[in-house]
């Protein structure tokens, strides 16, 4: 799912480009100590690994194969900041060396494939590990859940970006349901692959798995002192159950098509056009709100920035409040 040029309009592309550049600058800044101590070779090799790993086909049943996307795996292996840099470099090389993904869409692709999934995955991993009181057997399930969540969240953000800067007006409900629904299935594949690969690394070289490193005696004893509230656990459980039900439901509709977006396009074609009435309710979907003027277009772009940023912030705050609640109940 590398967005090409021409799929989103200029203001949205510039907005996502600016945001992506900002995040990359932040990631480079936060990773600078590690980079200066351990050099740029390790992240470079990790990027080469993700790039090559994406080409390995995994059999996922019914005669189809899937492949790794890698953001959650990178987050687990090398942490959020280096992980963001690693995934970004993969996306940049794919766009510029292989023409896979547009040049004006580079910012969009960086947000959707590198920045957002790495951070969502890292957040989920930390949260689950905290809830599981940093027990080592929780590492692989945490990474799997994180991989599962990171894919539909990107699809959700993509839907938002499309509604702001997409060329064709579409019913919001239908687009969102198809995009997120299908990507829940892709998320399941990503979760299974991430879990299996991470499990293999953990078995051979647990010291190389960043997310498993805080599981030192010190931290686990600290965690043991803070009993976790049942409500937090139930939130996660309910969320997971819901996602699985939705994902399972959509999977019944799934064809053998390996590409999510293509499938979405097809499934949209089967949707009842009665859904139209639902969609009109969203003011953002209605481009005419701003007219065709340049001001209108840039306003849409600005809202695009605010929207994407709000999603990221909301996730960050949700994680923070959950985790502080978990730790403040000592």
């Amino acid at each position: 799912m590398h967005v090409p040029d021409g799929f989103l309009d200029v203001p949205t592309s510039i907005a996502t480009g600016t945001m992506a550049a900002g995040f990359l600058a932040l990631a480079s800044y936060r990773a600078r100590d590690e980079l200066s101590m351990r050099g740029p070779a390790l992240p470079g090799l990790t990027a080469a690994f993700i790039f090559a790993g994406q080409m390995v086909n995994f059999p996922v049943g019914v005669g189809t194969s899937g492949h790794l996307i890698g953001a959650a795996l990178a987050a687990a292996l090398v942490g959020p900041w280096i992980g963001t840099l690693v995934m970004s470099v993969v996306v940049i090389v794919q766009a510029l060396v292989f023409a896979d993904g547009g040049i004006t869409a580079l910012g969009t692709n960086l947000l959707l494939l590198a920045i957002i999934p790495v951070f969502v995955a890292y957040g989920v991993q930390r949260l689950v590990l905290r809830l599981a009181r940093y027990r080592r057997p929780a590492v692989v399930p945490a990474a799997a859940l994180a991989a599962f969540v990171s894919v539909p969240v990107s699809a959700f953000v993509f839907t938002g970006l499309y509604l702001l800067g997409g060329a064709i007006e579409l019913p919001v409900g239908g687009l969102l349901a198809s995009m997120v629904g299908w990507h829940l299935i892709i998320g399941i594949g990503e979760a299974v692959i991430t879990a299996a690969v991470l499990g293999a690394v953990l078995a051979a070289r647990p010291d190389l798995v960043r997310i498993a490193r805080p599981l030192t005696a010190e931290e686990s004893s600290q965690a043991a002192e803070s009993p976790t509230r049942a409500s937090n656990r139930s939130i996660v459980t309910v969320g997971l159950a819901l996602s699985l039900i939705v994902g399972g439901g959509v999977s019944l509709l799934a064809s053998a098509n390996p590409d999510g977006l293509e499938y979405v396009a097809e499934s949209l074609g089967f949707l009842d056009t009665a859904e139209e009435s639902v969609a009109v309710a969203s003011p953002l979907a209605d481009y005419a709100l701003f007219g065709e003027s340049v001001i209108g277009a840039s306003l849409a772009g600005v809202i695009g920035v605010v929207f994407t940023f709000a999603v990221t912030l909301a996730i960050a705050f949700a994680l923070r409040s959950l985790s502080t609640r978990a730790s403040s109940t000592v």
């Binding site: 040029d5 309009d9 470079g44 080469a48 995994f58 060396v97 977006l261």
Partner: protein, 247 residues
């Protein structure tokens, strides 16, 4: 205007070409609905560049497959899009969406052709020099450099592991073999990581002190800038003109 030969196009340093690609793609994306003439000019420009650069047809076709899912998306969306309906071949579709879909497909294909022209005429090394010239943060350029250098080697590892699995009766399309594939990918990470550590040692052994040197590269002459930027400037003028004339 004197046209550059294919050889010259390939020899121009990548940074003017990269800048040119960005401006060109923005010009294509920025064309407003109905301005088909502008897109037609863009198409001519990109075909002329592809022709002059002698980009092989196979490479162009392979590159175009990246657009496929999105073209399918654009074809299907008029069925469900909003707006007044019209009949095409007996199917009810949204009429503004048909125009929008065609426009989208045209933009995607033209911009993708431009990206193919860039990637086909710029080697990975030239790209690194371009990053340097365009003031990309040096840490990021260094990571890209290592990734490009070692992607081939790690890719070879992938191939060797697949052959090793197959030699021992592994069948990669069978779900039962999922775990074997996963563990070979896990091994791939460990090997890559350990190689990363060794490369870092090799750098330290050659007096690396935290500053990754810029690869040696030459700057572009004024003439090269002019040649590289001419398609982009032309495209930009066409897009701006279509906005001015269209409003």
């Amino acid at each position: 205007m004197e046209r550059p030969s294919a050889r010259e196009t390939g020899a121009i340093p990548a940074h003017p070409k990269l800048l040119s690609l960005i401006v060109f793609a923005l010009s294509v994306v920025g064309v407003s609905a109905g301005a088909w003439e502008a897109l037609a000019v863009h198409a001519v420009i990109v075909f002329v560049v592809l022709g002059l650069a002698r980009v092989p047809i196979g490479r162009i076709l392979r590159g175009l497959t990246f657009a496929l899912p999105f073209v399918v998306f654009a074809v299907v969306t008029p069925l469900v899009a909003l707006g007044p309906r019209t009949e095409v071949l007996g199917v009810s579709v949204s009429s503004p969406a048909v125009d929008a879909a065609l426009l989208m497909i045209a933009k995607i294909v033209i911009a993708l052709l431009a990206s193919i022209a860039f990637s086909a005429t710029s080697s990975a090394q030239e790209l690194l020099l371009a990053f340097d010239r365009l003031r990309m943060p040096s840490t990021l350029t260094a990571i890209v450099s290592f990734m490009i250098r070692y992607a081939v080697i790690v890719g070879d590892d992938v191939r060797r592991m697949r052959i090793a699995r197959q030699s021992r009766g592994g069948q990669d399309h069978r779900v039962a073999h999922f775990r074997a594939i996963a563990s070979s990918v896990g091994t791939l990470f460990i090997r890559s990581y350990e190689r990363g550590e060794r490369v870092h040692l090799a750098m330290l052994a050659r007096a690396y002190d935290g500053v990754f040197p810029a690869a040696a590269g030459r700057s572009a002459s004024a003439a090269e800038w002019a040649v590289a930027l001419s398609p982009a400037v032309l495209a930009l003028i066409v897009t701006v003109a279509s906005h001015v004339l269209g409003s």
